[in-house]
Symmetry: C2
Subunit: 423 residues, 2 copies
């Protein structure tokens, strides 16, 4: 018997039929003898309507009132889920954030969870009752309803799982797991059975928008095993992992890397298009220059992605290159050139239309030569590398956008990630 937290997103609860379908997933776990807490988002569309009303009421609406209004969406879906579960003969009741209570900071619209009172939940779970808890919300020290910001229900689920010491936190969503790369680009992309928290964080921030980054960070910090799986699956189908093992989780398990026995060197290949690069040549190589350049960009709210600075030839001048989204290219150029005297550089050049390709894998830590092999694989396809950055478990390159899909497929094949042909 396990204690499982199950989280359902808005598209999984869009109407009564879908709520009933989601409830059948809950019933399967209850029937298997597990203790189950359910975290729900608002029914799809509801939150947008509530937000629109707040904006109509006033362009400068009070965030506390916004939270009171918007938090009702989850209260409705929690109540309906409890009713549907009861209708299936399952003991269930709903909890709002303030009823649990989920205590948060006072930053309305973007509150952080501080503590979760779990004694009452725990005793109800042990009596076999399913506790259906509103995601995305809590209560402040001033007794007012707070919300965690968009996508906060994933974070609520992880926080509840941590407070309860749950064996697993299953995130039911509209995709069936985390893939080695985008299947629309590489048709032989595979669904991963397992991925480490660190890899998932790199994947999430690179565009695989499956899980909210904050929820992955929290899961890693608290050691909560996450599962990403589809709510649209047949709830009564055999529970088999993507690699065929009968592990009870047909999605992707996000867990500590120690739990991943046969670690691939590379777990995934990600792509981010429309990156523009800007190179500032012969900048004075002295403390504070980089801070000044990127400070000027930050003042303009421009998010910089890759940053490369080489050691200078003579110790007096250096070149700095960075990337920004194509859409920000003109503003970024302007932010630097309009204050030329301050930065004291020689020339500035740049171009739109780059693509960032990253290979991600905790195996890189222990395997030398991953970066070198990546460059070789690209050169074999005649792809020129413009920029390189690396982190502990990731190597990223900037290439011309026209080669993007070719590069993804080549690397996917090169690192042995391709699914075997069927039949």
């Amino acid at each position: 018997m396990s204690l499982i937290v199950m989280k359902f997103g808005g598209t999984s609860l869009a109407d009564l039929e879908r709520i009933r379908h989601a409830a059948r997933h809950v019933k399967r776990e209850v029937d298997a003898g597990h203790q189950v807490a359910v975290i729900v988002s608002a029914m799809a569309g509801t939150t947008n309507q509530l937000v629109k009303w707040c904006e109509e009421a006033s362009a400068l609406h009070d965030a506390r009132e916004y939270d009171a209004v918007v938090s009702t969406g989850e209260q409705v879906s929690a109540g309906l889920m409890a009713i549907v579960l009861q209708d299936m003969g399952i003991s269930a009741r709903s909890f709002t954030g303030w009823q649990v209570p989920v205590r948060t900071s006072d930053v309305h619209g973007a509150a952080r969870i501080q503590s979760i009172e779990s004694d009452d939940l725990r005793s109800r779970l042990s009596e076999g009752q399913v506790c259906v808890i509103t995601g995305f919300q809590g209560i402040s020290s001033l007794n007012r309803i707070t919300t965690l910001g968009r996508g906060g229900s994933d974070t609520s689920a992880v926080a509840v799982a941590a407070a309860l010491g749950a064996d697993r936190c299953d995130i039911y969503t509209d995709v069936d797991g985390v893939y080695t790369t985008d299947p629309r680009i590489a048709p032989r992309a595979q669904r991963l059975s397992r991925i480490s928290f660190e890899e998932m964080l790199e994947m999430a921030s690179l565009g695989a928008k499956v899980l909210q980054t904050r929820s992955v960070e929290l899961a890693m910090a608290k050691g909560v095993r996450l599962v990403v799986r589809s709510s649209f699956d047949d709830p009564d189908a055999p529970q088999v992992a993507p690699d065929g093992s009968n592990s009870g989780v047909p999605g992707t398990l996000v867990c500590d890397e120690d739990e991943i026995v046969e670690q691939q060197i590379v777990s995934g290949v990600t792509l981010a298009k429309s990156e523009a690069k800007i190179t500032i040549r012969s900048v004075k190589d002295r403390p504070g220059v980089a801070a000044a350049v990127f400070g000027a960009l930050a003042d303009e709210q421009i998010v910089v992605d890759m940053i490369v600075q080489n050691v200078s030839d003579d110790g007096r001048q250096t070149d700095i290159t960075f990337t920004v989204p194509d859409a920000e290219y003109d503003r970024a150029m302007n932010a630097i050139t309009s204050d030329r005297e301050r930065f004291e550089y020689d020339t500035i050049t740049g171009a739109k239309g780059g693509a960032k390709i990253s290979v991600i894998g905790v195996g890189m830590r222990s395997h030398a030569g991953v970066a070198a092999s990546m460059f070789r694989a690209l050169s074999e396809k005649g792809i020129n590398i413009q920029l390189i950055t690396t982190s502990e478990i990731k190597t990223s390159v900037l290439i011309a956008e026209e080669y993007a899909e070719l590069a993804v497929r080549a690397l996917h094949t090169y690192y042995g990630l391709d699914r075997e042909e069927e039949g």
Copy 2:
């Protein structure tokens, strides 16, 4: 400076434009220097949608979950009202039932208010903040959200007014006050400036569906002065009473009869159509017979309206006559005739298509002959009276339905209730 409770119903808050219009009424009172608490219903249509979802979720839904779902409607309108008020430069905040808290019994869906914590509200009001409170709901001793049942927002408003010792409780609705009779029947019906609680109760239960009966009873018990007025009025128009006095209340004030200086003998004439009468003749006149007859009807959930029993000629047998809605006539006849031996009567007769006409007025207590003059007024029009019942402040007669409008107009004129012709 007064402390005023203002209650807005769902049609007065149906969209942002109407909420803004309602907020202008609040602003007028704030600008006049009054302390204001606002009670809101859910936006029109919202509650019906929420109830429908609960019914779709399960025909036998848990009343506690129903309350959690349905109570969100008022939370949304309270938040939006607070935002709109702030946008007008007025200090305001919303309160849910549990935040006040409004403590209720545990009877979900039909809870009764037990106490209202008013210290925090009072100190905020004294600082000039408008407290916007969700109507229709509270919190049980088990920390769960309760609702008071349909129309409960009027009761919430009166209870808050009582707890705060408010000078007035203004019920903003889609009619502009209480009339002497239905203006569609008697075009010269007048809006009353004042009406006593007792009269209002008789009016409310006789079909003038302006205020929920329970809220009037509570107002009478707690001595809360109620005003019925239209939310669609121009908020910036002069505040003049229907009788032309500049009393600050352009609607109808429902108050203690002591406050009504020039008491009319009759305040209003009401009409209820489609009443069927049933007469049981020569029933044994002994204890328990009436109880048996009306017990049989109650068992069938049939609501009986008028009941008349005369003293018998010989002390051994009597006739009983009562009325039920036309739609219940067949079931009522069947309930009696199917158990004929038990009741031991001679004959039973009946007919559909009656109309009950009532004249109401606390003045009847001190003025003899009101009933007699009523019968005379009707006979002058050739209207035959079939049944008569009386209470302390009301006399009702049953007549043939075809004479209903004629009777109402005749009595309205007879008791001097007609508005004077204009111009």
